[in-house]
Symmetry: C2
Subunit: 808 residues, 2 copies
């Protein structure tokens, strides 16, 4: 029985993350914030090649898939998170040393953090709304006044230039300051909660760019929403608070050491993402459900309660802030933005005769929603090809889209015929100022342009117009058709730009137009109001694209403040989701896939039942002795990218080789930096762990690493030894090599592991034969090793993956 | 290396379940439906002793804790469920044989079952409401008419006798037909979803008794609710449908074989319990959240979508049924029962000045709620001492409580002074018939008795009265105080009777009175309506007793149909839950504990980090050879109660002993019954699994077992061999014996295991050293083995367990 003998198929390099991308030079290892270094010759070219491969799918076949992903608009190296409790001696001593006061402080901090996350997210949501209402409001006031004076060319110029400047501002900020802030951020948050970390997704820079960029992008009348960016904002706030401020800007708090691990950070980020939706829609219950249904991969019932507390704080703080604004101190922020769309109140009655149009609405909504996903996917792939050419191209793309959008918004209303103002309405007609249903636009006095009241408005106001009850005759059929078509495609073409942009509001808006359209076309038999049709249309399109059921349902209810619609909304959602699931996956899964995140699904693929874990572990395994030579550790760390190494006690320290546990790269680096070495290879009498405080081993913020290259060691030190025992996790999770891959995946995902040790079946072999990481469970990796499975019907049986994902 | 050598601390009997209770006779094993056999000399005495021990806590110290529990009112043997996929050859062949049509049928069935669960639960909820409204309605009409005629004695007699008869009917039904139907059933459902099965909790008999008994109990004016029993009803319906009907009554469906396992059944039962709440309150979203927050121990996002579908079906079917009733074909069922309490509609405004009374309401609600739990716990312990004396005592107890209740309800209104009818009200005053706010009772014409409108009504109508807005002056302070006190204690004393009874409605009712009381006492500065205070009071008491946040919040919103109250309701809930958590655990945890279910908590106790799994595995381990003699299998099955046995390949079949997998008792019994033996101890050339269909191994319904005693084998057969390989699960989950107990618990619970194999650290020993089961993780067991931990501060640090459960 040779000590480090590795028979059979075992032995896996924990090569999931920082292993070299394509080049094998070790100098390429551990470069943080890889995606920021745009503009350095070789690397940029390398990145570009990776990105192209990623997008063309060729990277998916090679073994590096799970090491890079599109974060925002740039390809970055990503890293696995570790939700396992590292039970080594240092941890246990720390645990034993925690007395009642420590524990109470931990709890108090936990709740204080939740409160802060809620309050700050509410503040961010408020700032975003205030900004949009004021910037966009000022723009509309100026253009409307010019229109009233019939100076149409000047109005168009002002509209176009202000939109252009705002869009460019958002894009430049995103491209040059924080590319990770592009897009909605929900796919990144979802990947983070699944266990994939990327540099800078939760940095202070990203937070600022996200909020400011979002205000600029939405004010620029682009067809993008605030909800997605606010989810990312909430998650950012949570993560930054959890690590006690930003390390980079030396704003940290020493108190928070108990939160410096991936488990506590995950909980906070989950609460933060819920707070984002709660802030975006003033819908606290929907926020909790959104976090639960859409972004999180694991859920504990204790978390429900904390997420609820967080979103309740959002609601309370938002209400207080809005109360302050009621005195008129918030500029143009008045009845827009955050004010709920409680416009369809009053008793709603519905009958069997209403069912056919509602069911049709659901079915078509499902089709339109899945088409939306399909088009979005195509457009994003195309945009990525442009974006990867360089920063200038990103700016050009954004410029093109904003100019087209402005032309659409200003040009299309001219197609509408003017309608005479209704008599006896409460509202001023034509409306003066920025809000109101009756935009005058080019019409004569006492007439209004119905299309302008849709196009020439902030998205929130347009939704309110469409949702409003008793307005069945305010809109022409042709206007609604035109608006629906324009809104559908503007939404698709606006999402992929290099600026913060959400999908929620465009979908709600397009859905509202779609609902009114259906109501106009086939709702004549029905007793339902067209405003109600608009609400149901939003539900149908959200259900068809995002496939969230419970949270969308509650969002709609909280937005419209009418619970009597519940059965209808549920019906529409169920129909549209079911129809859409037959075609493709939900939009967030598509985005996560497109971005190349190694997402661990909750269920195992059928072919995984055919394989045992020994079929997928590959490569030579690096293990350390309980007492290891410093030189060897340095050597191994420099030549491999692995993050965990089994520690094996070998003769003469034990009779036979015995698995002692697993030691992490991060912990080894701490040991090497402290240089607490022993001179001879004998069991040390001293407890080495006493020289370390648990703070030394605390996990730093997202994407921050020590690097082996930064540690200088003399030749003498390289010959010394280090006792790894006190720093080794003695309770790693293990599977036997004959375990089926499907069941190992369940263990890996449910417990939230980064490393899963593979033990030999026969006791004659080395005590550990490999390590499974996230990478080893990726379908690309598994099917790459066993290509025959691609052809077997175990793969093909997965027709309509999305449908099956949900059915299982 | 001797084959079955068991060194060290390993080796655990999987003694969790069917092992003898106290007697060690093997004849005592595997008696199904043990709790039904009331009235047989020895066993009854044994049961009584067990129960006493269970209740006095002495059983908790001994090793049999996790084998018996109070189900309904009787002590029953319980059993672990197994959510692991048993990957043996039979399963794999079955899996391989499933083609597209099979998979589609499986999906179609899954959704069809959800639809049926929803529709049938809605029907059950409707029947329950219809029954209560008609039975209780008839009773109130008769008594009210007698009161109008001033024949007070006759009215009292009718009231008392009808209540008595109804209560006795419910109790006799429960005691003699299905004792498992007693109580709310939520603790049983919660335990089931945590992995503890009990005989008869989901039988057809229980279902019928639950619905009928619930109608009788609620109609008897007992202070019990319909919601809890409906949750149990929904779970029953789901379980019965999932096993394809009732085996006992030969109503089964062959189609459902894919659902005959604990995983699919768990999903269905989860949906069913959500449907129960959805049906009870016509609150579909709250139903989903209740299932998620309160009853389920594990949750997958796919389940959210199915639960949502189920509760949506409940809402749709209920609406259709109520529409049918609108034509007046449902007797007295009119505006009562299921009709939502949408009485506080209209715009609600609140200001800073409202905060002090609302916060006080929350704090006091928390205190009252935890006191409620405390009293309930004491009263239940006392009741259990009475109940265990025999069936007659159960009847006597119920009789006593119903007589006292009737006297209270009829007697207390006499203390109130008559109030003159308000002028200009829309409602008739005094109200004639059964509903309405203005009961005349003993008063003169044009006067009403405010206390009678609370006491002398169905619970649902009383809640509506208390919630109604604009009624600030309808009630005397003294009436509300009296009603609150009576309601609080009647609720506590009514729950433990041997009949179906829920806790929800009494808490809502008491809370409503409490809220009005607070509003009257300190709400004078506030602008809030007393009806709104009543709603908030319900939230406060529910939050204080049940500690559910999100689901209670949504229940309240869906009941009152007013989303504008959301921030206030959230605030009250958060305060009351936080306050109450400082005192004791939530009411369901208390009940689960009191009933003695071996509930696996989601978090590990601190002292578990100090122990490794080898510290808790006990007793000799029984393993089988890959080719085992029939006689030995029979012998082991007869002498032990274990449910899983490791299969080890030993020389000469392999070089050294190798762990092959785990075989289940249930599967061994199938093998023995089929008698597919081989004559010699050589590897069989034939694939034995071909003689079996997967149906043979399907798990039967709750609490149904084969028994080893029923299998007759000849002496020749006993000398033959059986090849266990095709029937052995080759992918059991394993841990190394040095694994910390806390981390093993996380694996055990997250993956939903019944057996967890313990592997040796050193390869010199036997390939498996023990099995961990649910029993081994129970604090009683662990602390029994290591009593010094009780005194260590690892135990003590758990002050206020409930608080910590939630904080972690």
């Amino acid at each position: 029985m040779a000590p480090r003998e590795q028979k059979g198929g075992g032995g896996d390099p924990e090569a999931d993350i920082e292993a070299p991308l394509i080049s094998s030079g070790s100098s390429f290892l551990f470069q943080d914030a890889a995606c920021e270094e745009d503009g350095e010759g070789d690397e940029e070219a390398e990145q570009r090649r990776n990105r192209r491969r990623l997008l063309n799918g060729s990277l998916r076949q090679s073994n590096v898939t799970s090491q890079v992903a599109l974060v925002g608009t740039d390809v970055c190296r990503i890293e696995s998170l570790d939700y396992e409790l590292i039970e080594n001696d240092v941890f246990k001593q720390d645990w034993r040393a925690r007395d009642r006061a420590h524990i109470l402080r931990y709890f108090a901090l936990k709740w204080a953090l939740c409160f802060l996350v809620g309050a700050l997210t509410a503040a961010a949501a408020f700032v975003a709304n205030l900004g949009v209402e004021n910037v966009a409001g000022a723009k509309f006031v100026v253009t409307s006044n010019l229109m009233l004076a019939r100076r149409f060319e000047s109005a168009f110029t002002v509209f176009l230039v202000s939109n252009f400047v705002l869009t460019m501002f958002a894009t430049v900020l995103t491209v040059y300051v924080s590319p990770a802030a592009a897009g909605s951020g929900i796919p990144e948050v979802k990947a983070y909660l699944n266990g994939v970390d990327a540099p800078n997704i939760f940095s202070l820079k990203t937070l600022v760019v996200k909020v400011v960029g979002c205000i600029a992008a939405v004010s620029a009348s682009l067809h993008v929403g605030k909800a997605g960016p606010l989810v990312h904002t909430g998650a950012c706030i949570a993560s930054i608070l959890g690590q006690g401020g930003s390390h980079k800007y030396h704003m940290t708090c020493k108190w928070l050491r108990y939160f410096k691990n991936d488990r506590d950070r995950r909980d906070l980020v989950t609460c933060g993402s819920g707070a984002g939706i709660a802030g975006a829609f003033r819908a606290p219950v929907a926020g909790v459900l959104f976090a639960l249904e859409t972004v999180s991969s694991r859920w504990r019932s204790a978390l429900l309660w904390r997420a609820f507390f967080t979103t309740a704080m959002v609601a309370v703080v938002l209400r207080a802030l809005i109360d302050i604004c009621k005195t008129g101190r918030c500029g143009l922020f008045g009845k827009g933005g955050l004010i709920m769309f409680d416009v369809t109140s009053g008793y709603i009655n519905y009958h069997v005769v209403d069912l056919p149009p509602v069911i049709t609405l659901g079915v078509l909504g499902g089709v339109l929603g899945s088409l939306y996903n399909f088009f979005l996917d195509r457009v994003l792939r195309f945009y990525n090809l442009i974006n990867e050419k360089g920063q200038t191209y990103k700016l050009l793309l954004a410029a093109t889209v904003t100019i087209c959008t402005s032309c659409c918004l200003f040009g299309l209303p001219w197609l509408a015929t003017c309608k005479p103002c209704p008599t006896g309405g409460e509202e001023a007609c034509p409306s003066i100022g920025r809000s109101g249903n009756f935009k005058k636009f080019q019409c004569a006095m006492n007439e209004y342009n119905d299309l302008a009241s849709l196009f020439f408005n902030t998205n929130d106001d347009t939704i309110r117009n469409l949702y409003s009850a008793g307005t069945d005759h305010e809109f022409h059929l042709s206007s609604i058709i035109l608006f629906f078509m324009a809104s559908y495609f503007l939404g698709i073409f606006s999402y992929g730009l290099a600026l913060p942009s959400g999908l929620f509001v465009p979908l709600i808006l397009t859905g509202a137009a779609y609902g009114r359209l259906v109501g106009m076309l086939i709702g004549s038999q029905s007793t339902l109001d067209h405003g109600l049709f608009a609400v149901l249309g939003s539900a149908a399109l959200l259900g068809g694209s995002m496939r969230m059921t419970v949270s969308v349902c509650v969002v709609i209810l909280e937005l419209t403040n009418n619970l009597l619609m519940l059965p209808l909304v549920m019906l529409v959602l169920i129909i549209s989701k079911t129809v859409a699931d037959a075609f493709n996956a939900n939009v967030y899964d598509l985005l996560v896939n497109l971005k190349g995140f190694p997402f661990l699904e909750g269920h195992a693929e059928p072919y995984m039942r055919q394989l045992s874990v020994s079929d997928v572990v590959t490569g030579p395994l690096q293990t350390f002795n309980g007492l290891e030579k410093v030189g060897r550790i340095v050597d191994v760390l420099k030549t491999t990218g692995h993050n965990g190494f089994p520690v094996v006690d070998e003769p003469p320290f034990s009779d036979i080789p015995l698995l002692y546990g697993l030691v992490l790269r991060a912990h080894l680096l701490v040991l090497l930096r402290k240089k607490d070495f022993i001179s001879s290879c004998t069991a040390s009498a001293l407890d080495a762990s006493k020289h370390f405080s648990p703070d030394d081993f605390a996990k730093r913020g997202s994407g921050k690493h020590d690097r082996i290259e930064d540690i200088e060691l003399t030749a003498d030190e390289m010959e010394m030894f280090v006792d790894l025992h006190p720093f080794t996790n003695t309770s790693p999770y293990t599977v036997v090599e004959t375990m089926s891959l499907a069941k190992a995946l369940i263990l890996f995902r449910e417990v939230g592991l980064r490393h899963l040790l593979v033990l030999p079946k026969s006791s004659k072999r080395a005590p550990v034969v490999g390590i499974l990481t996230r990478h080893d469970f990726m379908p690309e990796h598994v099917l790459g090793l066993h290509p025959y499975l691609i052809k077997s019907r175990w793969k093909k049986v997965r027709f309509g993956k999305s449908a099956f994902t949900n059915f299982f």
